[in-house]
Assembly symmetry: C2
Homo-oligomer: 617 residues x 2
């Protein structure tokens, strides 16, 4: 199949779009009419630009309100088509995409529409053109691909074929089995779009919320599998209307688009004629093995003081570099102060921050291969300064996601670090529960695709959380066995805690790191003894807790004493305790899960209000 994208998906001028589309690796492009109309150059010049960038125009679109018209509108529609054929000749494409009519003048009737298309096919044939008919989800009469297929079948003309669009099919919840009865060569165009599950009118949903395959909730995989069964081998093209994409970076969006097609088409068989490439299947990572902080010497002192107060010890020191390992249970926190390292370059841009997360993986060779196919170019660090040789890809905010092979022997900790056998080992905290990162809306879609495509993570339903300065959208992702969890937060409101975090980090940044304990009260008691500053919780919160849950006064009193938040779901209970913000940027969360599956969304408003208070004071 030819990987393609419609110009309407991207922001910018037509020239910027063409450059970004070519650079991202696409071979095909759909020219959206408005982009051509507003271009201040001739069609001939557009064609040269496309040729220079090695792009084939897979279709010119949309041609609207064609079929079913009575006189005199019918004749006018054919005249209009002839004009578009003129333009297409100049542009160098032979396929016009016709979407089902929404015209108030249009009349219904399958046969009437088929007759119109037969005549259009005759005219198209004379010009060596073809037309592809698409059922819009909100078409006046035709809004179901089974009906558009019946019209194409009856039009019975070799120059008239079908256009299938996943959004329109799924938004009307049409079954996919009929697809299997359509010969692949009668399908002229396939448009793929994903979308979040939203309950709203089809038109608004389509025009503002579409997203790339792998970023939404539609079962694209099922569609692609049926599509392969038809034998279709034409354009596989993105047609996404998305408010964030229209406002975002042209190049980044185009790159995400390309990888989303590779991901959507991952089951495709290898074929010399197409770009449909098999990508290796991999296991999801099993755990967060380490979290690396970019710190100055002074920040290291302050941060490790806090870590000591949480029971961490300085377990090892890098043999050659300015890098320390702080450890507790199975949690490895790396302090990187090595000059000229990735960490220190990151520090220059973002200040004290999490610059990398290491994930424990199996068969890292396959993961690297998969990353390459998905255009998440793996990096191995500077061999002068980063000796471990662990491959990584760029994650949120250009931090690194290391893929640490669990079969690597001896493990890098042994190879590279000198261990301090005399370090006091506490055992309050045992593993990383989840990492919460704040990012822009645009980067949220990018990250969802990355975590799904690379690490097989599943999304949980998004939640809106109220911050004193506005709403924050929160999206949790987890590996199937819940070994690795990330929560992503973003906001369009400029005065929220999330926005302040974004400003502070000059971009995306980690907001909190949740570490799990088996005994929250023992941990809290230790923290009190260590004089650890925790996020204060209001007294009113505990009064409300008493009303909401069946907790003894004694338990409530204990929760209150230690500033511990509490929640329950149908699976069990959940305890949360936050430290104060470190340098106004991030904090640690201590959690205890007794079966509970969520991330404490019910307590998020409390946290954000307290953090806002802390940031303002």
């Amino acid at each position: 199949m030819i990987y393609s994208i419609a110009t309407v998906c991207l922001s910018g001028t037509l020239r910027q779009k063409i450059e970004a589309i070519s650079k991202a690796g696409f071979r095909g492009i759909e020219i959206f009419e408005n982009d051509l109309i507003t271009h201040n150059g001739s069609v001939h010049e557009i064609r040269s630009m496309l040729d220079d960038h090695g792009l084939e125009v897979v279709t010119y679109q949309p041609f609207r309100d064609f079929e079913g018209l009575p006189a005199p509108y019918r004749q006018k529609a054919f005249d209009r088509a002839e004009r578009k054929f003129d333009l297409m000749e100049e542009l160098g494409t032979d396929l016009l995409m016709v979407c089902s009519s929404v015209s108030p003048q249009a009349l219904g009737g399958i046969q009437r529409a088929a007759d119109d298309f037969h005549e259009l096919g005759e005219r198209a044939a004379k010009r060596n053109m073809r037309v592809a008919y698409e059922a819009l989800g909100w078409g006046k009469y035709v809004y179901d691909y089974r009906d558009s297929w019946e019209i194409v079948r009856r039009a019975n003309h070799k120059n008239v074929g079908l256009c299938l669009d996943t959004f329109h099919i799924f938004s009307r919840q049409t079954e996919l089995d009929t697809m299997l009865n359509i010969p692949g060569d009668r399908i002229f165009l396939v448009q793929v779009a994903d979308a979040p599950s939203l309950s709203m009118d089809h038109l608004s949903w389509s025009r503002h919320y579409r997203c790339f395959p792998g970023q939404g909730d539609l079962p694209i995989g099922q569609f692609v599998s049926n599509l392969h069964a038809t034998g279709y081998d034409g354009p596989f093209s993105l047609e996404i209307f998305n408010d964030q994409f229209r406002a975002g970076s042209t190049e980044k969006t185009a790159r995400d688009g390309y990888r989303s097609l590779v991901y959507a088409n991952r089951a495709a068989e290898k074929s010399a004629d197409t770009e449909a490439l098999e990508i290796p299947s991999v296991n999801p990572p099993s755990e967060v093995q380490f979290i690396e902080f970019a710190v100055s010497d002074n920040e290291k002192l302050a941060l490790t003081k806090l870590l000591s107060q949480l029971g961490f010890c300085h377990a090892a020191t890098h043999k050659r570099k300015g890098v320390e390992l702080w450890k507790q249970g199975n949690i490895h926190l790396v302090m990187n102060m090595e000059p000229d390292s990735f960490a220190q370059n990151f520090h220059q841009q973002h200040g004290v921050s999490v610059c990398a997360v290491g994930l424990t993986c199996t068969n890292v060779g396959d993961m690297v291969e998969r990353a390459k196919k998905l255009e998440f170019s793996p990096v191995y660090g500077n061999p002068e300064n980063d000796t471990h040789g662990i491959p990584a890809i760029y994650g949120p905010g250009q931090s690194l996601l290391y893929m640490v092979d669990d079969a690597d022997q001896p493990p890098h900790w042994e190879r590279e670090f000198k261990w301090h056998e005399d370090a006091t080992q506490h055992a309050f905290l045992n593993k990383v529960d989840h990492v919460a990162t704040t990012m822009s809306y645009e980067e949220m879609l990018h990250s969802v695709l990355l975590y799904r495509a690379m690490f097989s993570m599943k999304t949980m339903p998004t939640v809106s959380v109220s911050d004193p300065g506005g709403l924050v959208k929160s999206q949790a992702l987890q590996t199937p066995d819940k070994g690795v969890s990330f929560t992503l937060n973003s906001t369009q409101a400029s005065r929220t805690v999330s926005s302040r975090i974004l400003d502070q980090y000059a971009g995306t940044g980690v907001n909190h790191i949740a570490l799990s304990t088996k005994d929250i009260f023992a941990t809290a008691e230790f923290m009190v003894k260590q004089q650890t500053e925790t996020m204060p919780v209001t007294a009113n919160y505990y009064d409300d807790l008493a009303a909401r849950f069946t907790l003894s006064d004694e338990v409530i009193e204990k929760l209150k004493r230690y500033n511990i938040l509490y929640d329950e779901d149908e699976n069990g209970s959940f305890y949360q305790l936050y430290t104060s913000m470190f340098a106004g940027r991030f904090c640690f969360e201590i959690v205890q899960r007794n079966g509970y599956q969520g991330f404490g969304a019910a307590n998020s408003q409390m946290r954000l209000t307290m953090q806002a208070r802390e940031l303002m004071s």
Copy 2:
């Protein structure tokens, strides 16, 4: 009725909300549970704060998932209520708002619910408390106010009453006649919210898109009129969940909220016991009489050069001040360079810009009275520098909207200006067609309320326009006879033309002023002779025009020669011609309407793309 607002409507901490609510003039407040829970002070302290600000807590809310529960949940729900009664006692309110259950455990049945409420009434009575029952639009069994009323009626307890919420009633499209059969004293609480017409699930619509009465599309007037008929005299309270409000200015939002209640309740009869005040009815303004520019001496030279190129002449000069009047047909453009004037203070903040618009009105005394009642405090200018004494209110971006009395004799132009009888009068342009202003989303809602409440303007459906840097939302408003029209544009994307305009003006600013002509081609020909720079239109646009409309090649050729845009609707044709941007800020649009009713939305993408190109070059 007691004007009230729920804390959830506003951004900020509880303290900030209480201060803003009191300052805006409200007497009542609904304490939303989360605001109390996250407040870091005792309930007692909240009560003192409320007392200090003269605010009465009309209700504590929401109490969820109460009715219809089987054992053991039922008992737990009553325990929960008792805890809330404790809290309410301390807070100093006697009304608990209970919204209909969405609990999976809840069982249906009107009588079961009524029995639960009777028992709750008994408990409430013992504590001198009352409960108000509200049908949530997405309640599990009860989502219709007629059902919640039946439950209240059968509960048959003096301490159990009804809560009516306009959003829930209108979102389910429930009829309003049943309201007239409910005795006013059985209604304990009325919540008012407006919303735009959106087709989406009730919950998302309610949680993100509600707005103040007069800002949306719901028929609030009909509800209020029925409400008065019931004899209800309790709290009239705003409960708005709106993403922009949650992120916006606490004080400004509270002020808009208060005036929206005055506006919604405008038909109310005067009563000594309530704040329900009659506001004088007024006629809409008939025309834009003048537009005033804040300019430096140099900018005046450049701007009036452009005006000359459009056929304007320097018609008059202010007798005492540095103010010139430029005129053509019925269009008056005022250049204000007078030191220390409102215009020059505005200039210091915003640079060259439109600082005021004068509207021709009848009975300005009544309009001033209406403005006062609606808390749009009228201003009269500095008597030292602004001698005309014309009252004004603040419009978008703190510019002034003057209300010029058409009965004022002699008119201010005669009183204050020396006319140049020898000035050459052209007659290409005859009146102001509309003024387009760019503003933030938040200010858009504020402005819609202002234009509706003060000038009886009607909104047209909003449209989304594609700019190369993102989507722009456009809202047109018109007086009923179309004498005055404004279009408001806003965007959340930071790289759009609209955003650049906002940045340049350091806030809201006029983007273009549309002036109408009877003969666009003669005007264009004159402009060519005057070497007026116009916004270039692409050749591809004209090819597309030929396909879309039945226009002769000759007409197309003429349109193309002069860079004139064209559109049609069912009423007629429309011609548009834009000048280049003045100082990268605003431009003039010359329009000819032959019956056409819109504002050329079909050509907006063309304009924005061209303007983006101009701003980037």
